[in-house]
Amino acid sequence: MSEKNKKNLFSSLSKHMMTGVSYMIPVIATGGILQSIGAMIGGATVLDHPGTIGYILFNGGQAAMGLVVPILAAFIAFSISDRPGIAPGLLVGVLAVNMKIGFIGGIIGGYLVGYFCLFIKTHLKVHDAVKPLMPLLIIPLLGGLAAILLMSVLIGPPLAGLQGILIALFKSMGSGSKFLFGAILGGLVGIDMAGPIGKIGTTVANGLMADGIFGPEGAKVCACMVPPLALGISSVFTNKKKYTEQEEVAGRSAILLGLFQVTEGGLPFLLRDPLRVIPCTAIGAAITGGLAMIFGVESPVTMGGIAAFPVMKEVIPGALIAITVGVVVTVGLLALIKKDIPQDENAEGDASDEELEVTIEFK
């Protein structure tokens, strides 16, 4: 593969991802904030009171959050193969959610299904009489079949298995020192913004909470707030130059989402620059998780962020210190590690003299 082809492949892969992200962001905002408002109104036991306003909002928000991965997968596939990719893409995303392999499963699935549909679209030659059926029936059907096979055979089990191994490892660590436990929990959350890796940690915390142990859940609530808060503060206030204008816009909503513990608010940053963002958020969230355990922060609810504070233990000063330290560390690391983005300030003429390669496609 030549250098140029490699560059083209990379830029088209990222174009598909960004198309998916652009459709996903409003879904995260809808679900995350409604869920938080529900938790704020309904308090700790919101899910035990069906029919109350808090319950209805929380439940609805949760349903919207369930759409995040399917929408991401569907629009990655849509970007690759156009409309016929949507149905199989949605399916692959829903299956990823069902198998609890969330974001990573949905992204891999979305790409594979998208390219599969594109392949059929361009390579399967059919009689003219059957042609109208291609986008309506044949591609979605074959694509759906591919989605099911992919998720239940090819990528689902290995990813789920990997997760199972990690959960077992994590549980065996539970008896270790409190700081280490909290730090691992937080670090997992910080690695993929409560994606499948983070879910390993949150699943254990949620499980322990069901057994009446509220410490890990407290650490989780605090740690989950750190990545979006820190990325938001870094992009909007402290290190504007290191982010694109689009990220600065995402940063404002990330701060709000972070306050309400919607970790996914950090995803736009992670997806654009994973190698630099992940170490920062993982370390910051790990410190918060560890500190929260030491301070004895406890939470009887899984979601909410500041909305959960009223029902949590040791919020002042424990949780506040833990979160602040984690955010400050993350923002500091981002300042060190992220690179500046060249800015364009001049209004007249071009901002860059760099030689531009322009190719016109004549058809």
């Binding site: 830029s11 174009k15 598909h16 960004m18 198309t19 992200v21 652009s22 962001i25 409003p26 849509f78 970007s79 694109t244 204008e245 689009q246 600065e248 816009v249 995402a250 736009p268 364009d344 209004a347 003429g349 071009d350 901002a351 860059s352 760099e354 531009l356 322009v358 190719t359 016109i360 496609e361 004549f362 058809k363």
Partner: protein
């Protein structure tokens, strides 16, 4: 030269519209006519009509994501660039297009 363009960025709230302004500025300075359709997160605005497409000499697609309605430009010469190029080097972009179109004729 009659230019039509589409701009679309990931978030669809900032860059899309900066690109539109920069393209219009550059086109005005160089004495061309331009119409830019923005496909932001509010949906498509300033939509290119069939007449616009028919009259256009060149289609500029300045997008970081896949755009809607590309089939409208079938048979038209198309240039694809990232939103960043439209923001940073709109003049050079338009000049190069002009050169290449002339060379073609």
């Amino acid at each position: 030269m009659k230019i039509i363009a589409i701009s679309a960025c990931t978030m669809g709230v900032a860059h899309t519209f900066i690109a539109k302004d920069k393209l219009i500025e550059a086109s005005d300075r160089l004495g061309h006519q331009i119409k830019v359709e923005t496909q932001g997160s509010v949906g498509a605005e300033n939509i290119l009509t069939e007449e616009d497409v028919k009259a256009a000499d060149i289609v500029i697609i300045a997008a970081d994501i896949n755009i809607n309605g590309e089939e409208r430009f079938k048979g038209k010469p198309i240039v694809r660039v990232s939103v960043t190029v439209a923001i940073k080097q709109p003049e050079q972009l338009i000049k190069k297009i002009e050169e290449q179109l002339k060379a073609k004729k």
